[in-house]
């Protein structure tokens, strides 16, 4: 488990350094994710310990967002003034985005049968 955590942190570290070095507009952890993916494809194997640690971490992904979310306590007065604009924008935009993404993806899958799932 510690070995797996070390791999994840090290790849994030490499990602962060690479992003700062190159000035690319990419998030460091996303670069780390691409690196880990390439390493797994290259090795064609997934170590059990890495799989177990990743699954534990990802099954509690929502926990990791709580600290930033509690930051809402700092914005009481802003939300009191602009709550309607903020709430409407979040609800409508999130639902429209999910619908547009799914419908466009579905339409392209129908158009290009090669991409269709084989079930």
């Amino acid at each position: 488990m510690i070995g797996a955590l070390a791999i994840l942190l090290m790849l994030q570290l490499v990602g962060e350094v690479a992003v700062r070095w190159s000035g690319a507009p990419l998030p460091g952890p996303v670069v780390g994710m691409v690196l880990l993916f390439l390493a797994l494809r290259w090795r064609q194997a997934l170590p059990d310990a890495l799989r177990a640690t990743a699954e534990t971490l990802l099954s509690h992904l929502s926990l990791l967002f709580i600290p930033a979310g509690v930051g809402i306590v700092q914005y009481g007065s802003l939300l009191a003034r602009e709550w309607l604009a903020v709430v409407a924008a979040l609800v409508l935009s999130t639902l429209i985005t999910a619908a547009v993404t799914a419908l466009v993806m579905q339409a392209v899958i129908r158009r290009y049968p090669g991409a269709r799932q084989d079930e």
Partner: protein
């Protein structure tokens, strides 16, 4: 009485209290979610944030003190993002075959997320700073904060808007997609990931591991694309050069 005061002084200065409170409240939220039979409305993140916010207000604790303890959990967002490579690796064949639909859905979804959030808030009289903070709201927290800073929004406000977006997406998107007769778990997961990043992804993993893998893929891709698109869109706005 004095002893209680001493204990509080110790706890207030140590990261231990708010770190353990965050974990306890999250576990309580999960318990409630399961007790409710997994009803989407009892979203564990929303429950936990509401409870912790109330606790901070009741005890008069500043957010900075809370974050001093909770930052250890926040920090794990980095390695968790790296770990998203694993479901992607496990479902790679499926991703490769859906390359074109993924690209089309991503482009449409990313543009829609930025433009619709800013558009609705603008129509309802949102201030320029709120609009700019809303632009990256569908992107995962650390990236969204970076984008907000770059285009003149408030990064810490963006963090809150990102979480609320995730909760809304996790609660409502699966039912919406069902209503639209989307049956493919890959499409469902990808759409939830584009709209509602990691919190949506946590929900997508409950649909299936395939949906979770596609949602995870969407987090990374949407972060990249929004980082490129949001500054371009912000530069077109009449107020982009505000202080």
């Amino acid at each position: 009485m004095n002893r209680i005061g001493d204990i509080w002084v110790y706890l207030a200065a140590s990261p231990l209290l708010w770190l353990s409170m965050t974990l306890a409240v999250y576990l309580a939220g999960q318990w409630l979610f399961r007790r409710s039979g997994g009803r989407a409305l009892f979203n564990p993140v929303a429950l936990a944030i509401t409870l912790l916010a109330l606790l901070l207000l009741l005890t008069g604790t500043p957010y900075a003190t809370y974050f001093g303890g909770a930052q250890f959990i926040h920090f794990l967002l980095g390695p968790a993002t790296v770990a998203l490579a694993i479901p992607l690796y496990l479902h790679w064949e499926r991703v490769r075959r859906l390359f074109l639909p993924i690209l089309a859905g991503l482009l449409a979804g990313s543009l829609t997320a930025i433009l619709s959030a800013m558009g609705v808030a603008w129509l309802l009289g949102g201030s320029p700073r709120t609009l700019l903070s809303l632009a990256p709201k569908s992107v995962t927290t650390p990236v969204a904060m970076g984008i907000a800073e770059k285009i003149g929004g408030l990064p810490s406000l963006t963090a809150v808007l990102v979480i609320l977006t995730g909760v809304i997406g996790a609660v409502a998107a699966p039912a919406l997609l069902k209503g639209l007769r989307i049956r493919d778990d890959a499409v469902k997961g990808f759409a939830i990931g584009v709209a509602a990043h990691g919190i949506g992804t946590a929900r997508a993993f409950q649909i299936s591991s395939l949906a979770g893998a596609f949602a995870g893929l969407a987090i990374g891709l949407n972060a990249l694309l929004t980082a490129l698109l949001a500054p371009l869109i912000a530069a077109l706005l009449p107020f982009h050069s505000m202080p």
